[in-house]
């Protein structure tokens, strides 16, 4: 006869299509569970990196200083950059105490404005000098960034300072406000500083991203590579960072477990109920002569199909969600985590098969006739 019409595939397809609402509800539940699991897993895995990235807002966490009064060897910057990697930010500083025309001492710092701008995001600067303005042309006044406190001690925007008998003419190109020591200083480009004082950078401020252990390892490497230079961590920053990152991670992990558990249990309960409800189908099939295995296979196959479709849709949706959260909250790209796909699939299959398998155990012991009578 037309045996082919009643192949397993046909029955599964008909069963899924015929009971559309229920199939859709189950699919929806499985999709949501997979999407939530994917989002949270992806976020959790990239969380460490994202959080450490946020702590860059605090600026340098490592300081390299030349011993008392001397300057760092010129190749130090390149050495540090090679060791710390391209992701770290490095800003050189040189300091001198100069005299204003009235004889008042004032701290002048030479730095790299472009580097300082990326690292010291809290600096409130009226107008960052563009790279062209910081290159010195001989004879013209040097563009200076003047701290808001230092400004009160200068009597005009154009002023001159004396260091070791050499006078430099400067022009206030911008004002700087930080609420800290920088407010009492005058900043000029390192090139102009060196041309004027004959001194190079004495301090390198380094911002290394990573956990406390990574920063510690970097400190050791820097110390080994640069003997004679004082290398130390800004302890104030490094210690708190580790604690806050750890706490946020624990918080995320507890949330992840809580949400996954809730969604998992709800989905399990929903699917179990919808299988249990089909005891009449089960009974009819058995009454028509199906074996226990055939029926079980049918139910499990249906569940597995739904789980697979749910996992695929959920993975896509979840990766998209994680990406959105990354862009919106961290202003960073959180790429899809491919390792999440098998994990989510496995999770979904487990929930679905458990949900299909549990009622089977109950139904197996019952006589088809009893089930059909509705007992």
């Amino acid at each position: 006869m037309k045996r082919a019409r009643f192949s397993l595939g046909y029955i599964v397809r008909r069963s899924l299509v015929h009971r559309r609402v229920r199939s859709l509800a189950a699919l929806l539940a499985l999709t949501v569970s997979a999407a939530v699991a994917t989002t949270l897993l992806t976020l959790y895995v990239s969380l460490n990196r994202q959080l450490h990235q946020q702590f860059r807002a605090f600026g340098a966490n490592i300081l390299l200083t030349a011993p008392n009064g001397s300057t760092l060897p010129p190749e130090t910057l390149a050495t540090v950059r090679a060791i710390a990697g391209p992701e770290s930010r490095i800003v050189p500083f040189a300091y001198a105490v100069a005299q204003t025309t009235t004889g008042a001492p004032i701290v002048v710092a030479g730095t790299d404005f472009t580097a300082a701008r990326t690292m010291d995001s809290w600096w409130q600067v009226s107008r960052w000098p563009d790279a062209a303005a910081t290159t010195t042309t001989v004879g013209s006044p040097v563009a200076a960034m003047v701290g808001t406190r230092a400004q009160n001690f200068l009597h005009s925007d154009d002023f001159s300072l004396t260091y070791n008998g050499r006078t430099l003419t400067l022009h206030t190109a911008a004002t700087l406000h930080t609420g800290a020591a920088e407010d009492s200083r005058i900043l000029i480009s390192l090139a102009a500083f060196t041309a004027w004082t004959g001194q190079g950078a004495s301090t390198l401020e380094v911002q290394a991203s990573g956990s406390a252990a990574q920063v510690e390892a970097l400190l050791h490497r820097l110390r080994a590579a640069l003997p004679g230079v004082q290398v130390h961590a800004v302890r104030q920053l490094v210690e708190s960072e580790g604690r806050i990152v750890d706490r946020t991670r624990s918080l995320m992990l507890s949330s992840l477990v809580l949400i996954a558990l809730t969604v998992g249990i709800c989905v399990l309960a929903t699917l179990t109920a919808s299988v249990l409800e089909r005891r009449r189908d089960f009974a009819i099939m058995k009454a028509l002569g199906s074996t226990q295995h055939q029926v079980a296979l049918l139910f499990l196959l249906e569940a597995a199909l739904l789980a697979l479709a749910g996992a695929a849709a959920g993975y896509l949706l979840g990766s998209l969600c994680a990406f959105g959260i990354g862009a919106w909250n961290f202003h960073a790209t959180i790429p899809p985590l491919w390792q999440a796909a098998p994990a989510v699939l496995l999770l979904n299959l487990m929930v679905a098969l458990l949900a299909a398998g549990l009622p089977m155990r109950i139904l197996r012991t019952m006589e088809p006739a009893m089930l059909l009578r509705g007992e």
Binding site: G179, A181, S250, I265
Partner: protein
């Protein structure tokens, strides 16, 4: 009749109700917990962030310019103006007094330090500080001082007593250089002083002698004087209002600004309390803290939102199934002559009762969970948030009715006979 049906259905079909009830319970518990955590994570982290130390710096207004390089004052101001130590009590009288967590006044000076055995002498920078000072305001007293401000300082030995004029702590680098260990007695400007502890800090403090403020004032001959005060305040991250110039705000906005714990409004109030002082937020710390707080709270809110969505879907799916299971029942009631309206009311009343009950239990469970998470992670509990109760109940009600309604309405739209004939 209606109530009898309702009660009987709730009493007799307990197994069937259990699924929906469990789903609602777990859903509301998760959402309550996540919202409670999301709402309090800012406060909790703010306390963690206070380990960054001072976020407001108070200095005398008319001052000579600081000449400080690498944290060391090159030219300590001999003249110049001072703040008065006695005035600091006033800081506990400002509008946001409870947000002021710690004060640490400093008086820098230079002293001649003579090692007792070798008579090796050197002029070294010193700093007068509070160690465990008790600030009294009215009947209240508050512990204040430098060790709590600089939590990254590591002390070996003990801090000097604040009232002692013959005790001091020494920076670890200076101690190593001068061969001084805690317990030694040294000569300070010719007076014997016992070194009670050595401090490692990772910054310029390691090369400094730390004196009780009273001793520093005695040496400089400036009683009651302090050069700067580090203030640690619990602040709110800067937003659009905080970034505007306070002088340009309308009176109403100015009041709002004044009554918000922004770093700059607290600094403004400190300036009001101390007439000759200039108070400035330390932007590195306030901006950094703001970024961290915003990102982490933002993350937790998004996760709470994800939990909300996921729980809603899970509950809605459970309700759909729970109603579908009872199609026959609807068919039967309709066949016996019940109107569409009365059947729908019965089902919705059942759902409402169930969701309110499970929702309330879920709220309790969720609050307990949040409290537990708070204790485990932040070592301080997250209090019950009563605002979340109506939110949790409303949500449970809305989601379960929305989940069940399509199935109920669809079944009601069908002929009772067709419903009854339909196999499961």
């Amino acid at each position: 009749m209606f109530f009898r049906l309702l009660v009987e259905s709730l009493v007799r079909q307990r197994r069937r109700k259990l699924l929906a009830a469990t789903a609602i319970l777990l859903g509301t518990a998760t959402v309550t917990a996540m919202l409670a955590i999301g709402a309090s994570v800012g406060d909790k982290l703010n306390q963690d962030l206070s380990s960054y130390g001072a976020n407001i710096l108070v200095t005398p207004k008319t001052d000579t310019l600081d000449v400080v390089v690498g944290g060391v004052s090159i030219r300590p101001a001999t003249a110049g103006s001072y703040l008065r130590e006695g005035d600091l009590t006033k800081l506990k009288g400002i509008f946001w007094r409870n947000n002021i967590l710690n004060l640490s006044p400093e008086l820098p000076l230079h002293v001649t330090l003579t090692q007792a055995q070798s008579s090796q002498a050197a002029t070294v920078p010193a700093l007068g500080l509070w160690f465990h000072h008790t600030l009294r305001y009215g009947t209240e007293s508050y512990p204040m001082g430098a060790p709590a401000m600089h939590r990254w300082w590591r002390l070996q030995g003990e801090w000097p007593a604040d009232s002692a004029l013959d005790q001091a702590a020494i920076g670890s680098a200076l101690a190593a250089q001068m061969h001084i260990a805690p317990g030694d007695t040294v000569m300070l400007n010719g007076e014997p002083v016992r070194i009670t502890g050595s401090v490692s800090s990772g910054d310029a403090t390691e090369r400094t002698l730390l004196l009780p403020l009273a001793l520093a004032q005695k040496i400089t001959g400036q009683p009651d004087a302090v050069r700067r005060v580090d203030v640690q305040a619990l602040t709110k991250p800067e937003d659009a209002l905080a970034r505007r110039n306070p002088d340009s705000l309308s009176p109403a906005l100015h009041d709002r600004w004044y009554c918000s714990p922004y770093a700059n409004s607290i600094a403004y109030q400190i300036q009001e309390a101390l007439p000759n002082a200039q108070a400035e937020p330390i932007r590195r710390i306030t901006q950094g803290e703001g970024t961290i707080l915003q990102r982490i709270s933002g993350l937790m809110w998004l996760v709470a939102l994800a939990a909300l969505l996921a729980a809603s879907f899970a509950v809605a799916a459970s309700m759909t199934t729970a109603i579908l299971e009872r199609k026959q029942e609807i068919g039967l009631m309709r066949a016996l002559g019940a109107s569409q309206f009365s059947v729908a009311s019965l089902f919705f009343a059942e759902t409402a009762f169930l969701s309110l009950l499970s929702g309330a239990l879920g709220y309790l469970l969720g609050s307990l969970l949040a409290a537990r998470v708070g204790r485990e992670i932040f070592h301080s509990t997250i209090a019950f948030n009563p605002v979340l109760l109506p939110a949790a109940l409303g949500l449970a009600l809305l989601v379960s009715i929305a989940g069940g309604a399509p199935s109920v309405l669809r079944t009601l739209g069908m002929q009772p006979a067709a419903v009854l004939r339909e196999d499961g």
